[in-house]
Symmetry: C2
Subunit: 130 residues, 2 copies
């Protein structure tokens, strides 16, 4: 049936990565999805802050290290196949998305096209000063 | 910034697949995560029922086709990078997980090991008669 705890999470299916879903612990809103490798998973457990692995940058991504919008992990779950992680988090700063929205899923697909349904919490230009 | 509607969802990053998160539209509970290809995405939009692509079976997975626990899609969202889908669904039968739990994320990772925190809605042996 289920994998043994020793192999949980199962990083073997996707080149060492597993998808990790971050959900607002208070409201249940799905905030974002990113990937974790074994190192980022271990650091997440050790620190209580969500740490992902950035595929585009090829390195650990300590969520909020630049914006300050860290995610404090309140609880962590694995799915039946142990190949996906769910994090219930306290999203510091109120916004998970680098575009300034609370959730990365701020656009709804409708018969009339994409509709922005999320509300902007911050202006990315002010937060990411490059 | 965002991709144009013509390239949404962006199936190019993962061999034609995008992760799709199913969330209970009424309670906000995250039920499962699976993958969609362009064909399953199109069928989902056309039929209003969640259709995934099974990586292990290598074919379309019309969720609930065997168990009857189909997912009626109430709304559908894409994330900022357009490479992940969020579905808000009405989960027929009350359980998304093939192990009989409402959510596939029925196990919590704790310092004491894995704890089953979900409640079983059905007995898999009764539903999947093989």
């Amino acid at each position: 049936m289920s994998a043994t705890p020793d192999s949980i999470p199962d990083f073997s299916k996707m080149d060492g990565l597993v998808p990790a879903i971050a959900q607002d612990a208070a409201t249940g809103e799905v905030l974002m999805m990113a990937y974790m490798n074994a190192e980022s998973y271990a650091e997440t457990l050790a620190t209580g802050r969500a740490v992902y692995f950035s595929r585009s940058r090829g390195k650990l991504w300590r969520k909020g290290e630049e914006s300050g919008n860290v995610q404090m992990v309140e609880s962590l779950y694995v799915d039946c196949d142990a190949d996906t992680i769910l994090l219930k988090v306290n999203q510091i700063g109120g916004a998970a998305c680098h575009e300034g929205y609370k959730s990365c899923f701020f656009r709804q697909v409708t018969p009339q096209g994409l509709q922005v349904v999320g509300q902007r919490v911050f202006d990315p230009k002010q937060v990411y000063k490059k």
